[in-house]
């Protein structure tokens, strides 16, 4: 397939707009095929090569505008792309506690499998046993940290999948981070508490930001590598 200026401009604009590479490759390939079909149709009508190329370009329109149309259409093809405010601002607030509860339940089930949990007498005995309590504390705090990381990864993946702009991915990460900063869960012998604290939990808050940063850098590098490879 000849790489025309049209498809090159389209590819560059789609890359700039943050189109995932898998989508980008396929879209550019199909639009290039379409361009070639339009050109062949013009040639079959007796137009010269240059005129056929020009007519195909006119029929497909401005490649930059087409790239934007394609991105809008891609975004609107998923629920997350159509409802990004709910999806990336509100749902992260709900996802973290739900994931946390789920993981805690799984953790406590594991504790139960190991011989503790679900039996208050055993739990009371375990609370007085430093080794057993340590296991319980690891389950509670582990679930907490893993839930924050999982929720962040989930929303980053959803943002990427629904082709929304990077700022929505970062927004969901910041919301997860703010949640982690002020939401508080602690366990002590014979005492478990949940709530909001005004003492920021910096370590927990850093987890989503680190994940967001890593994903952002990874995406940038992947895009740059793709650009370089295509340019060659």
């Amino acid at each position: 397939m000849p790489r025309t200026d049209f498809t090159e401009q389209l590819r560059l604009r789609l890359t700039e707009l943050g189109c995932p590479i898998a989508h980008l490759r396929r879209l550019v390939q199909e639009v290039a095929d379409h361009h070639e079909d339009l050109k062949q149709a013009a040639l079959s009508e007796g137009l010269s090569e240059a005129n056929a190329e020009a007519r195909a370009n006119v029929q497909l329109g401005d490649p930059l505008a087409l790239a934007e149309h394609l991105m809008v259409a891609l975004r609107r093809s998923s629920w997350w792309g159509r409802h990004f405010l709910i999806g990336f601002c509100v749902l992260p607030l709900l996802a973290v506690p739900v994931l946390w509860a789920l993981l805690l339940f799984l953790g406590l089930s594991l504790e139960f499998a190991l011989g503790y949990g679900w039996d208050w007498k055993k739990l009371n005995v375990a609370a007085d046993n430093p080794v057993a309590f340590h296991h319980l504390a690891i389950a509670v705090h582990g679930a907490d940290y893993v839930a924050i990381a999982l929720a962040t990864l989930l929303f980053c993946w959803l943002a990427r999948r629904s082709v929304v702009s990077v700022r929505w991915m970062l927004t969901s990460c910041v919301i997860c981070s703010l949640y982690a900063l002020f939401f508080w869960a602690t366990i002590k012998p014979h005492h478990f508490a949940l709530g909001i604290t005004w003492t920021p939990q910096w370590i927990r808050a850093v987890i989503p930001l680190l994940i967001a940063g890593a994903i952002y850098v990874f995406q940038r590098r992947t895009t740059q590598c793709f650009q370089e490879r295509v340019a060659v």
Binding site: M1, H23, R26, L27, Q29, E30, V31, D33, H34, E36, D37, L38, Q59, L60, G61, L66, H69, L70, V72, A73, L74, R76, S77, S78, R82
Partner: protein
Amino acid sequence: MLTSIMVIGIIAVMKKTNPSFLNGVPELLVLRLLAAREMYGYQIVEEIRTRTGEALSFGEGCIYPYLHYLEAEKQVSSQRREVEGRNRNYYKLTARGRKRLEELTTEWKRVTTGVTQLMGVQHA
């Protein structure tokens, strides 16, 4: 699902006066065409243009995200093949797409019957 995406591809070409009840029409047209035979993007655009007497048309190139959406919904499947020296992505209807086409066709007939009746009464 009659989603707003269907309008995106055609807004560039369709008249500005197209009312919102045309939502879902592109889905019906694409599925109907693919029910007859497998086709590639350019063919679909051309068929819609010619067979509707140019009353309806997808914006050139805008059909692809829409086809990808239908593929994600498992209503169509695609395969890249070489035919007559040209490599293209061919789309064909799946069983789910066929079922969806039946639903849309029933809905479309219901709506057009209602509109035709109303118009008939008005003209009587």
